[in-house]
């Protein structure tokens, strides 16, 4: 996967016309992923670790079919659902209730499914009293809780989860971790990106470590996490940052 990053802030017709005259192209290529190959058997949970900018999110987007690869081949068997960012499709001016519908439809649920799940979503987010208030009046924790609740209610065969799913207070985090564990134990394939190395060890069947766009390691979660922590030289401290 190669990103073409243009040094200009935004491509415009004007600049294109100007460039035609000068015949210059200000483009620097970033190779976000280089020759990453792996396989996840059905029903298994794969953990993905790596430093910031290693290409983890790009990998997720490529698997989801959002970003087309420049070379190579991605094969996915099953219905994919992405949980890459929270609150996708939300509109802050709308009430919580309207946003549940909007976010759910954006994620590909039907209206019937949503009507069925609505109570479950609201009670999971514990926001019964706030559903008819505009989301701009929500605290950031409440916003995150509702977004998380909408996101985990989908029941796909393949789930791609990116980090930053740690929202709300300590109690809600515990609850969302339980939900994640529940999702992981059910019979579905999951790709989990996380900096919480303890969760990777606990939840995953296997793990990969991506470093600067290359596959550094593909092994049992324990081995990968140990090698990765050794590499980071942070030792056991990492396990105190318990997030999902």
């Amino acid at each position: 996967m190669t990103y073409r990053t243009s040094l200009e802030s935004a491509p415009t017709l004007k600049s294109t016309v100007l460039k035609l005259g000068r015949r210059e192209r200000v483009i620097r290529e970033v190779h976000a992923l280089k020759g990453v190959s792996f396989e996840v058997p059905e029903g298994q949970v794969l953990g993905v670790v790596g430093a910031n900018g290693a290409g983890k999110s790009t990998l997720m987007r490529t698997v989801a079919g959002i970003l087309p690869p420049n070379s190579g081949r991605v094969e996915v068997h099953g219905r994919v659902s992405t949980l890459l960012a929270l609150g996708v499709g939300f509109n802050r001016k709308m009430t919580g209730r309207q946003n549940v519908v909007l976010g759910g439809l954006a994620a590909g649920l039907t209206r019937d499914q949503l009507a069925e799940k609505y109570d479950e979503i609201v009670s999971f987010a514990e926001l019964e009293d706030f559903m008819d208030m505009p989301m701009r009046t929500y605290s950031s924790g409440m916003y995150g809780r509702l977004a998380f609740a909408v996101a985990v209610t989908m029941e796909p065969e393949i789930l791609l989860i990116d980090e930053a799913l740690s929202v709300g207070d300590a109690r809600f985090r515990k609850k969302s971790f339980r939900k994640m564990r529940e999702l992981c134990t059910e019979d579905r394939t999951i790709l989990l990106v996380s900096h919480a190395l303890g969760s990777i060890k606990e939840l995953c069947d296997q793990a990969i470590w991506i470093h600067k766009g290359e596959l550094r390691m593909w092994d049992e979660p324990e081995n990968v996490v140990d090698a990765y922590t050794e590499f980071l030289e942070v030792g056991e401290d990492a396990f105190t940052m318990e997030d999902v």
Binding site: G65, I66, P68, A106, G108
Partner: protein, 296 residues
């Protein structure tokens, strides 16, 4: 569209099943090239509720569901019609223009505003939907379509405003008015095509939206809104044919004001242009949409 790379052609049978929902997806290098259109259209249809909900959200954000919010949406083209009426009245000198012409002006402006609102609302739909596009896989054509649906929901109440003017002008009601249904359908088709075209262009050239107001203004003046179609001098008749809205708005005025079925040339031009723009815009958008995520 352009010739596909070899790998694309090989991969085609594998991906034919379904682009978004099938049990098996294969993603291979591609930049330009059409996804299988049948499954694409099915998925688009399956997700139509999302576009409708987005349109509804847009309207709610504009306070469309309040009385004054709706009133303003109607008042705006109504006042504009008064301005243009005054302009034409002065330019033409006194006389010949009565309520009937005002009805023509109003109907034409409302129809024109449906198309131009669609374009204005959809132009930034792709570039503005970055978070959605980067984090979810869905047929991207839903984004400009949501803009068109928003414009359509704003267009419908203006039709109600037109009715009293129609009655005051003493214009006929009759079975010929059934023509309005296919005409509105053609407008929708053209608006969707134009919306997809400009929103895809906006990804590549971010200043398309800055050029748009000038383009839309010229388009209005070259359409038979501020004048009747049969007033166009013989030497300039080609403008009515070259203008995508020429035939359509002539037919619109024929049905509403003249009170008869549209002339064959008008309805023919309208159909050809609408589907032509829809095909061009649709194919351009759909063949490029997988590249959007990289370009944002």
């Amino acid at each position: 569209m352009t010739s596909l790379p070899a790998s694309e052609q090989q991969a085609a049978p594998a991906r034919e099943e379904n682009e978004f929902t099938s049990e098996r997806h294969v993603y291979e290098p591609h930049k330009i090239g059409l996804p299988p259109l049948g499954p694409y259209a099915r998925e688009l249809w399956r997700r139509r509720e999302f576009a409708r909900e987005m349109a509804r959200t847009n309207l709610r954000a504009q306070h469309f569901n309040t009385v004054f919010g709706q009133l303003w949406l109607v008042l705006n083209p109504l006042l504009l019609a008064c301005v243009y009426f005054l302009l034409v009245y002065i330019l033409r000198g006194s006389g010949s223009r009565g309520v009937e012409f005002f009805a023509h002006l109003l109907a034409g402006l409302f129809a024109y505003y449906f198309i131009s609102d669609s374009i204005r609302l959809s132009v930034k739909s792709v570039t503005g939907g970055g978070r959605l596009i980067l984090n979810t896989a869905f047929p991207r054509a839903l984004l400009p379509l949501a803009g068109v649906i928003t414009a359509f929901m704003r267009f419908l109440p203006t039709l109600v405003i037109y009715i009293p003017v129609h009655i005051i002008a003493g214009l006929p009601f009759g079975p010929h008015m059934l023509w309005l249904v296919p005409l509105i359908f053609l407008m929708f088709v053209m608006a969707s095509g134009a919306g997809m075209l400009v929103s895809a262009l906006q990804v590549y050239f971010r200043d398309v939206k800055n050029f748009l107001p000038y383009f839309l203004r010229i388009w209005l003046y070259s359409s038979p809104v501020l004048y009747y179609a049969d007033e166009v001098p013989d030497g300039l008749q080609w403008i009515l044919y070259a203008n995508p809205l020429g035939g359509l708005l002539t037919a619109w005025s024929d049905v509403l004001i003249m009170g008869h079925a549209p002339e064959p040339w008008a309805i023919g031009m309208a159909t050809a242009w609408s589907f032509g723009i829809f095909l061009a815009g649709g194919l351009f958008f759909v063949s490029r949409e997988r590249e959007f995520a990289v370009r944002l």
